[in-house]
Symmetry: C2
Subunit: 337 residues, 2 copies
Amino acid sequence: MATSRSPELRKDAIHSRWVIFSPARARRPSDFKSKSDPNPNSKNQTECAFCAGHEHECAPEIFRFPPDSTSDWKIRVIRNLYPALSRELDPPNSESVGGPVTIPGFGFHDVVIESPAHPIHLTDLSADQIADVLLAYKKRIHQLRAFDSIKYVQVFKNHGASAGASMSHSHSQIVALPIVPPTASARIQSMKEDFAQTGKCGLCQVKQDDLLIDESSHFISIVPFAATFPFEIWIVPRDHSSHFHELDNNKALDLGSLLKLMLVKMSLQLNNPPYNFMIHTAPLQIDSTELPFTHWFIQIVPQLSGVGGFELGTGCYINPVFPEDAAKVLREVLIPN
Amino acid sequence: MATSRSPELRKDAIHSRWVIFSPARARRPSDFKSKSDPNPNSKNQTECAFCAGHEHECAPEIFRFPPDSTSDWKIRVIRNLYPALSRELDPPNSESVGGPVTIPGFGFHDVVIESPAHPIHLTDLSADQIADVLLAYKKRIHQLRAFDSIKYVQVFKNHGASAGASMSHSHSQIVALPIVPPTASARIQSMKEDFAQTGKCGLCQVKQDDLLIDESSHFISIVPFAATFPFEIWIVPRDHSSHFHELDNNKALDLGSLLKLMLVKMSLQLNNPPYNFMIHTAPLQIDSTELPFTHWFIQIVPQLSGVGGFELGTGCYINPVFPEDAAKVLREVLIPN
């Protein structure tokens, strides 16, 4: 890492959020390799409730792929047994303004079981199998859109116990919220201000050679200019698109391939770290005037360090790795045949 | 915990930030007790660079208390050996607006060594010794205010490795920033909107009987209405005050006593968990029109669970413990004589 550099503060056009790049806090490159055991459950566990044959141990199923499969399913979308929000409550009517506010916790919290087999990780799947997982997200979002009181859908994956996974069987989660969450509102506001100044969508313009990791027909993968976390990766559609659920089959296959490549590169470079990925999309009921400056993307974050009082207090993160250096390291990872 | 409750979303007037309270994700009360070893260094370490007699191993000293002490100092404020920001750089002139922005990482990053003795924790100090630590923060902030380009000072403490501490010797940190960080800007904006609606400062009004833990002559301690984290505690001045550095000696002693009580109660109830505390104050160069709705406070956060993709993606936290329940538990902790 470039330890001869001076510290810098950067604010990107997407989030208007300051990040401190601090080479004095950098460790040697090898120190970034993860040391934690990513397996959240017992190391010798070979079967769990998410495995084929254990369907009756799970919360109710929403759908499976292929739809008519019995014991030979590839993907199952089920309810979360411990949902953060309840689908049984009355949907809230409208959002109050100002002062302390309470609304019922109406919403949906689902789990996408990505494979019937316990030891398979997402990166073990082929590009077209990963595309099917992405299309399962899409299908579920289309179902959730039918609820007027659902304002936002967050798709995310926790891989590894320290990234928040409580089950080691490969899965991701979908939470449908009755509010637009803070990160989405702040991003829209920031991209709107940027659009007003430049006349262009900030994510349509995001490509910079020194930040590029790889690209495919329809997507690019970069380290963002003001990456919050070391080795954070964004996968961004080349063409302007506000909602993830606009993804078609062709683009899903292309994205499956690039997502797999990024996860494999990150795993090789950083010793299979715990990680999260999040799909950042536009709110469901977005005003059509806001579509020109909202652009969905996937954020991948390896969990390499914890959060301390400085980050909790300021909302400002200290990143010891400059994005150009992280992009170079990830660009140059050699994938064994 | 009240597992018969339904999930709720709450937004407080201070942050306009949604938090999901989700009893379905609650564990048994005993499960909240910390299981992690809070000691960041080797368990048998009895001396380090922060100990009396090792002053030459540290980065340069800024001041000590008592000022004329030689080997019998009580508190030392020193530079951080691995500062996030550099005091050697030219201060940035002004903040650009819009688009990707880079400014030099000018700033200060100091360490407050709270005791000369290695095994002493902050809670082992007497109320007046803790008051001296608070007055050391105040003195250093008064020095940092002299720099026009310093816009905000964040005081924080990381206790325990998983809370971000790299040294087990009791210490806290002070970072002086050339920007107003996102959390402070968002809080001011939110409190301003609340003030415009109610005509009152949201933190002058914050006391609610069921959220109160304890109180002293000049401060109250509560669990906030929309606590982000389980068993989060705020200590709030009763009288309106925008800046922490307005603290006088009398109030420092009163605060030292209440801060100690809160840390002891948290430690007893949750098995000495790793924790952070942060002093949330107003920006240094705040406009006088903003003083009526900015009110400093201390936030204490026990580190009981990690952050997953949902929180990273949405900025919305899931808290399994309702604030009224957390306040009751903390109110009723019995302190052994």
